[in-house]
């Protein structure tokens, strides 16, 4: 469809764009990215025929654009430029209608029904027909952008070039515009080439991306390949973190604000003094939010949280909407839901056990509340679906004063779970139904939270120091907690017998 072959060029003999080479297929959404001054707009001007090429060729359907007349070119390719101020008060419809210029012949050709139909249809699609008789100048930048998009679309082009089309647009209109373009690309085979400023938007919409730097090609590839942290950091001279989009399979880049020291904020060290324990709940409040991965009732999943609440509920607690109830509970007790991980347990909170373990350059605090009333063997067959409403019975908190990778979080959870299984085995706790060794209870919860300050810890497998501490610590604290539990139970049984 569109081929850019070894194109070089610029202004007044100064070469700005050097040896750019790529091709775009029919119906493809192609993005051009690069820092300011990287030559994106210059390249677009050369592609649209405004600037002479010093070298190379731009071809549409294997014909060089320099062989086409201006009108022929305008029927194949339309351009949506960056907005410039308007001088004369043309109406919206007059402005859009100008897009039909290339389809007219001779000096005095009249406006046909076909022209009118196309103009009305496109104005509807771009959602501007309700103000078609107003002056363009009366409208905001975002609306003007849509008016000029409509002008370009009534040219009925095969290819649409856009220069930062989402400038001036509100978030919703950015999405609307790009959705519209993508629909046109998918359904009508419109080839879209867009200079985009926003890397994350480009990732969401582009099939392919050209990354430019200093007028040269840095990459032409899928968004996933172009967005390597290393490449982006190098080209944009900044620091970004690449993450998958949480809902769709596209990469997203996150900026890191300020300097490293500013980002980390005040130094915090999580220790026993920060715990407050009452019969109703165990609470840990941190001055800085901790990066947390957890399976709590509230604040589950991954996120940054500064309040951690393990709440005691009665064994008969039964609420159809326990999440909602928990949120209310937290709010009523002064814990903002957005900053809090909340867990529940029917276990008597006095059966807790905690300790700080020192490692080399880091430390770990482990807090466990355990009861084994409904211990199960997770491998048993026909395992009944455990009602999630039931409060958990073994809740494990692992706080790390260190900087963990994603892998380390996952490995911490594995290691902690292995340790838990070992405790239950050593305490000879059996599944009530199968009479086989239990591996946990049906509603256990875990959280791993790290300050993300200080020492960088890449792994937390059992062969690493962190892994070893977690394994040993969880084992010890949990065993102790279970022993508390048994002691109490025995005493209770004893009392009830009498």
């Amino acid at each position: 469809m569109l081929k850019v072959e070894n194109v070089s060029g610029g202004y007044d003999g100064e070469t700005i764009v050097k040896d750019i080479h790529f091709s775009v297929g029919k119906g493809e959404f192609f993005g051009i990215l690069g820092p300011n001054g990287s030559g994106k707009t210059t390249l677009l001007k050369m592609m649209s025929g405004l600037l002479e090429l010093e070298q190379g060729e731009v071809k549409i359907d294997d014909r060089s654009i320099s062989d086409l007349t201006k009108k022929q070119l305008a029927k194949k390719m339309a351009v949506l430029p960056q907005l410039s101020p308007q001088v004369f008060p043309y109406t919206v419809k007059e402005t859009v209608s100008l897009g039909r210029y290339a389809h007219h012949r001779g000096f005095f050709q009249t406006w046909t029904d076909e022209d009118e139909n196309i103009v009305q249809k496109v104005m509807k699609q771009t959602n501007i027909s309700h103000f078609q008789d107003n002056s363009v100048m009366e409208h905001s930048g975002g609306e003007q952008q849509r008016i000029f998009l409509a002008q370009a679309l009534v040219q009925k082009p095969d290819i649409l070039l856009l220069d930062e089309p989402t400038n001036h647009l509100d978030l919703a209109y950015q999405k609307e515009l790009l959705d519209l373009l993508r629909t046109r690309a998918r359904e009508e085979g419109l080839t879209v080439v867009a200079i985009l400023h926003d890397l994350n938007l480009a990732s969401l919409y582009c099939d392919k991306i050209l990354l430019m730097d200093n007028g040269e090609t840095r990459a032409v590839a899928d968004p996933d390949d172009v967005f390597s942290e290393e490449l982006i950091n190098h080209v944009y001279q900044t620091e970004v973190v690449k993450q998958p989009h949480s809902k769709i399979a596209k990469p997203q880049l996150h900026l890191l604000p300020g300097k490293k020291s500013e980002r980390e904020g005040e130094q915090v060290k999580i220790d026993e003094n920060m715990l407050s324990i009452s019969p109703e709940r165990i609470v840990l409040q941190s001055k800085q939010p901790l990066k947390t991965v957890s399976s709590g009732v509230v604040g589950a999943g991954a996120g940054w949280y500064s309040n951690f609440v393990n709440r005691h509920v009665d064994a008969t607690y039964n609420c159809t909407n326990h999440r909602e109830e928990m949120r209310e509970y937290l709010t009523n007790h002064g814990f903002p839901v957005s900053q809090t991980v909340g867990m529940m347990t029917a276990v008597t909170l006095e059966d807790n056990s905690y300790r700080v373990y020192e490692g080399d350059g880091f430390s770990v605090m482990i807090v466990v509340t355990a009861g084994v009333g409904n211990a199960v063997d997770s491998t048993r067959e026909n395992s009944p679906v455990a009602a999630p409403v039931k409060p958990g019975t073994i809740n494990t908190w692992i706080f790390v004063n260190g900087k963990l990778t994603d892998e380390a979080y996952i490995q911490s959870i594995i290691t902690a779970t292995e340790a838990k299984a070992q405790v239950l085995r050593d305490c000879h706790i059996l599944d009530a139904h199968t009479k086989k060794q239990a591996t946990g209870t049906s509603t256990d919860s875990i959280l791993v939270a790290a300050t993300q300050q200080g020492k960088e810890i890449d792994y937390a497998g059992t062969a690493t120091e962190l892994g070893a501490i977690i394994g040993r610590g969880v084992y010890q604290e949990m065993k102790q907690s279970i022993q508390h539990y048994f002691k109490r139970k025995k005493m209770h049984d004893h009392l009830s017998f009498n």
Partner: protein
């Protein structure tokens, strides 16, 4: 949407009424029915009644009618040229006078008179021909320098360059006048702009150029619409910008050159009329150009009428009146533009 019929009817009504009034009013007043009869008899050879004074026939046909028509043609030429320059340069302040084109044409005209140039085969068209040529040369030079000053050719740069050229060319004219010595009053009177005592001959001089220049511009109305969104935008829409730009500049210079050749420099018509027409009827050049022709003609007929009646029996140069009206309008547009930018 204002209907096109309404636009043209009102504009034509304005033109015709100014014509009739201008022919009627003067040291000897001629009633309008008589004017109709005289024109009917002279142009269409209709029978004329015995009640018409032969002196009136002479006043109407030999003096007032050619004067009114010449004023109309000059006004039309300047107005359509101004409208085209404004669209092309995306600038509501562009005007043949402000851009220096009128001065350029004057230099051509004055030099022709001074050096007594007569090009064979052109005869009486030598003067307008050289005026047009120097108008064209001036606009090209102005645009060339404006581009040198600032690549993006901002409005301010073009106007500034135009003013510099106007002053420069004005001093050349002054130099020629100083060297002439005699007929000073006449040349200055001509420079200030006037359509008096020119007769049918001058109508014959300007008419062909108005037709050529006017048609050229009317064939480029859609291109002018496109170019008023910027040259890059126009090219993206499919306009052959380089070619069209040259055509429009040439047509504008033909119109200005011819107008200056027959009436001297009459300023601000090319500024005020397109501006007013756009305000009234919208910026679409397909209608803006023809409506500017009609309104421009009517406007200059009216100002010419004022110039010879306001302190009658003395006759003011019509350029003085247009400048009196035009300069405040120019200032007003400038103020409005600044305000719009400041927002």
């Amino acid at each position: 949407m204002k209907s096109n019929l309404l636009k043209y009817t009102l504009s034509l009504a304005f033109l015709i009424s100014t014509m009739l009034i201008a022919i009627s009013v003067g040291s000897v007043s001629v009633p309008i029915p008589e004017i109709v009869k005289i024109i009917g008899s002279e142009v269409f050879h209709l029978p004329i009644g015995n009640d018409v004074d032969p002196k009136s026939i002479s006043i109407v046909y030999d003096i007032r009618l050619p004067r009114v028509i010449l004023a109309g043609l000059v006004g039309a030429s300047l107005a359509i040229a101004g409208a085209a320059f404004q669209g092309l340069l995306r600038n509501p302040l562009a005007d043949p006078y402000i851009l220096g084109v009128s001065s350029g044409a004057s230099v051509g005209a004055v030099s022709t008179l001074f050096f007594n140039i007569s090009i064979p085969f052109l005869g009486m068209y030598t003067l307008p021909f050289l005026s047009i040529l120097s108008a064209l040369a001036t606009i090209m030079t102005v645009l060339f320098f404006a581009k040198k000053i600032d690549k993006t050719m901002r409005v301010e740069s073009i106007i500034l360059t135009g003013i510099i050229f106007s002053s420069f060319l004005g001093s050349i004219i002054s130099l020629i006048i100083a060297l002439t010595g005699e007929e000073l009053q006449q040349i200055i009177g001509w420079l200030l702009g006037s359509v008096s005592m020119r007769g049918w001959k001058y109508v014959g001089i300007i008419l062909p150029f108005l037709i050529i220049g006017g048609l050229l511009l009317l064939m480029n109305t859609r291109e002018l619409n496109a170019m008023s969104f910027g040259e890059d935008r126009a090219q993206h829409l499919g306009v052959d910008v380089e070619k069209r730009k040259m055509l429009i500049l040439a047509a504008g210079s033909i119109l200005t050159g011819a107008a200056v050749a027959v009436s001297g420099t009459i300023g601000f018509v090319g500024l005020v009329i397109p501006h007013l027409t756009r305000k009234l009827w919208g910026p679409d050049h397909i209608h803006l150009l023809p409506l500017s022709i009609i309104t421009g003609a009517g406007f200059l007929i009216l100002t010419d009428l004022l110039s010879r009646t306001i302190i009658s029996p003395q006759v003011l140069p019509v350029g003085v009146i247009t400048a009196l009206v035009g300069a405040p309008v120019f200032a007003m547009i400038l103020l409005k533009q600044k305000k719009a930018k400041g927002r």
